[in-house]
């Protein structure tokens, strides 16, 4: 266990293991995404009330779910970097923020596109959309704080503190916004108990959610690898790597 932790803190090891993971995970992700989209868009029955427009949930819901989970990944990485002073956790945290912001943005845009045929307007101040908007602000705050610091090590620590504050606050914000807008659809996907969504729609949705998680992991690893190379540019292992790449 401890040796694993120790290895996790070593940049060359992390770089090579993430390369191996990506070689397998990336094709699987792309296949799953393609399969989920085809299944969701072509092989499911249209909704009896919303017709075909509901199909955007195959993008919207996974993006929203993973965006929220991404914030927690970021905050936990931040906590690890603060408590155990692990530099690789810093790298992971920094890599999370832009991906999470992008996913939140996708969720907002698809939500708004979905809203046009459903509610007849591009934007309503509905509880979920408002919460997603606040989540976007939280992500952008982390990105802005990171960019504002010249000293990148301090930037990492400051962002870790901010994302932990965010983690404590997200449930409060969500509950407040929920309360503020008590007119909203009840959560319709539950992994236990009865589900109000038809299985023929649920399975492709679950596939898409898994694919988005995998996509998040891929983006995170790729982002981390880029950040690692930049931070460690002067070290021997990166120099060696650059020479190898140049030769081949």
């Amino acid at each position: 266990m401890w040796t694993f932790f120790h290895k996790l803190g070593s940049p060359p090891w992390l770089y090579s293991i993430s390369g191996t993971i990506l070689r397998w995970l990336l094709p699987i992700t792309l296949v799953a995404l393609a399969a989920g989209i085809v299944w969701g868009l072509l092989f499911t029955a249209p909704d009896f009330r919303q017709g075909n427009s509901y199909r955007i949930i195959y993008i919207h819901v996974p993006a929203a779910v993973v965006a929220l989970a991404g914030y927690y990944v970021m905050a936990i990485a931040g906590a690890i970097s603060l408590i155990w002073k692990m530099k690789m956790a810093d790298v992971a945290m920094k890599a999370c923020a832009p991906i999470g912001a992008a996913l939140t943005f996708i969720a907002l845009v698809t939500g708004s596109i979905w809203g046009k045929p459903t509610w007849g307007t591009w934007w309503v101040w509905d509880a979920r959309i408002t919460s997603m908007l606040i989540l976007l602000f939280l992500y952008l705050g982390v990105v802005a704080l990171y960019e504002a610091y010249d000293n990148k090590e301090a930037a990492g620590k400051a962002c870790a503190v901010l994302s932990l504050v965010g983690m404590v606050n997200i449930p409060i914000i969500y509950k407040s916004v929920d309360w503020w807008y008590s007119l909203h659809q009840p959560a319709s996907i539950k992994f236990t108990g009865e589900s109000s969504i038809d299985p023929s729609m649920l399975y492709p949705l679950l596939l898409m959610i898994s694919a988005f998680y995998a996509l998040f992991t891929c983006c995170l690893l790729m982002n981390m690898r880029a950040e690692l190379l930049e931070r460690e540019a002067r070290t021997n292992w990166v120099q060696r790597l650059a020479k190898q790449e140049g030769r081949s």
């Binding site: 002073k85 090590e153 620590k157 002067r234």
Partner: protein, 206 residues
């Protein structure tokens, strides 16, 4: 100094300190102990890492370096900035100091201010004082201090000749009482006391 066991217990110990800035190694594997009675001057050119080292010793820098520092005694740190509030008088600056070191009555503060040449300035708003006088208000903390370990970063900056002499005497007085001083300075101390030198490249020497 009485030869008690406490006299040999270090006030501060550093082991294996290494610091890298911008890909350049400032110092590496620096280990030393500061005992009561030590007067230690850190040597090095501009940008050699003297201030970085003293901030690491004080505990203000907590990451970006490797190695460990253990502080066994209360310390007093004086940095580049005077920490004097322009809106407060010198007396208030010392009495309500955020360093939280001691509870001083007006008489002790008046004495301390007199020792740094600010007699009669106790209740003048500090914005009426010069930069050098701000430094002196800050130095008055040394006359009040009861902390055995002093970490001083360039204490002679903006101090006139007689002020430097007074300060040198104070430092010697402090180490003779069983305290210890770690300081950075570009000028050699003119004191009749054994000064130890810490070179950032070579380590400790006499």
């Amino acid at each position: 100094m009485p030869d008690t066991p406490t006299a040999h217990r270090p006030l501060l110990s550093a082991s294996g300190l290494s610091l890298e800035r911008g890909g350049r190694e400032l110092f590496s594997a620096l280990s030393f102990e500061v005992l009561p009675g030590h007067l230690l001057q850190i040597e090095g050119a501009n940008g050699a890492g003297k201030t970085s080292l003293i901030r690491i010793l004080a505990g203000l820098s907590r990451y970006g370096f490797t190695g460990s520092v253990t502080r066994h005694a209360p310390l007093l740190y004086l940095g580049h900035q005077a920490g004097v509030k322009a809106l407060l008088t010198p007396r208030e600056n010392l009495a309500w100091h955020v360093g939280g070191e001691g509870d001083y009555d007006d008489e002790r503060i008046r004495d301390a201010l007199a020792r740094v040449g600010l007699y009669g300035y106790e209740n003048v708003p500090s914005h009426a004082l010069s930069a050098g006088q701000h430094r002196r208000v800050n130095l008055a903390r040394l006359y009040l201090s009861e902390s055995p370990l002093w970490l001083l970063d360039e204490p002679f900056t903006a101090i006139d000749r007689s002020g430097v002499l007074d300060l040198e005497n104070l430092l010697v007085e402090h180490v003779e009482r069983g305290g210890a001083v770690v300081m950075t300075s570009h000028q050699a101390l003119q004191v009749t006391y054994e000064v130890r030198f810490l070179s950032l490249l070579e380590g400790l020497r006499l």
